[in-house]
Symmetry: C2
Subunit: 142 residues, 2 copies
């Protein structure tokens, strides 16, 4: 089996802040049709500053933004250092203006490439009673 794959950037984090702007490239703009009927969106983005051999070979981390967190495997953390530096963030969709999404709660750096946008479907994606260790409760959300 081939052990690697390729993806294209479909957009970019144009502005990060209280309201962040994600600009979808023109050739994919049409794919946003109907997204405005969802209140929340899942953004998959590329943690471009971690796209180097050292960070991609990191197997364990101490999640430093979360006081009291133990050392864990990267698959048990949301650390940006991981074999495939894909960031995932659930955001609130404020509005769509032409090819740009304006969203709240995006935890991504400006200029991060965006690789996918998915509608948030509570029936599939929301598990309010999921159990997680206490260290996830302090610090930022992820």
């Amino acid at each position: 089996m081939e052990q690697e794959g390729k993806f294209s950037y479909v957009g970019i984090v144009e502005k990060a802040g209280e309201i962040s702007q994600i600009r979808i490239f023109k050739q994919y703009c049409e794919s946003l049709q109907g997204l405005d009927s969802f209140s929340h969106v899942i953004v998959l983005y590329w943690l471009h500053l971690r796209d180097n051999p050292e960070e991609r070979n990191t197997l364990k981390v101490v999640p430093r933004r979360h006081p009291g967190a133990p050392e864990v495997g990267v698959f048990a953390s949301r650390s940006p250092s991981r074999p495939n530096p894909i960031g995932l963030c659930v955001v609130q969709l404020s509005r769509i203006d032409e090819c740009s999404l304006f969203v709240k709660n995006l935890d991504a750096l400006e200029e991060s490439p965006v690789i996918d946008i998915k509608p948030y479907i509570p029936r599939a994606d929301s598990v309010p009673n999921a159990q997680a260790p206490n260290w996830t409760l302090s610090g930022p959300r992820t």
Copy 2:
């Protein structure tokens, strides 16, 4: 800006069913440490059968598994036909046995490559009151 990136497969869907088995490749196995303290996990996988130019150039779809769904852009659907055929599924973690995760509710085909595993953190990932159109309520969860 470079317009594309590369990722490595970190595992594979070994068995799909009521309980699905995800085998993480040996070199990444250590990265699972601590994941067993989470009840749910986000699986990102590669929709390998859709990794062809035709499917990757699909901009709009009618989500056929959902009766009554209108035509929407692929970013407003969970269709496997999309520019980057990345599947996302929130699953319940039954157990971890060496390098394998045994999970419930994985909507992935057998032999799908796995590209990332993330812990599900309800504080970040659960939005029970998120709004979604009615067509998302019938058919499978995604």
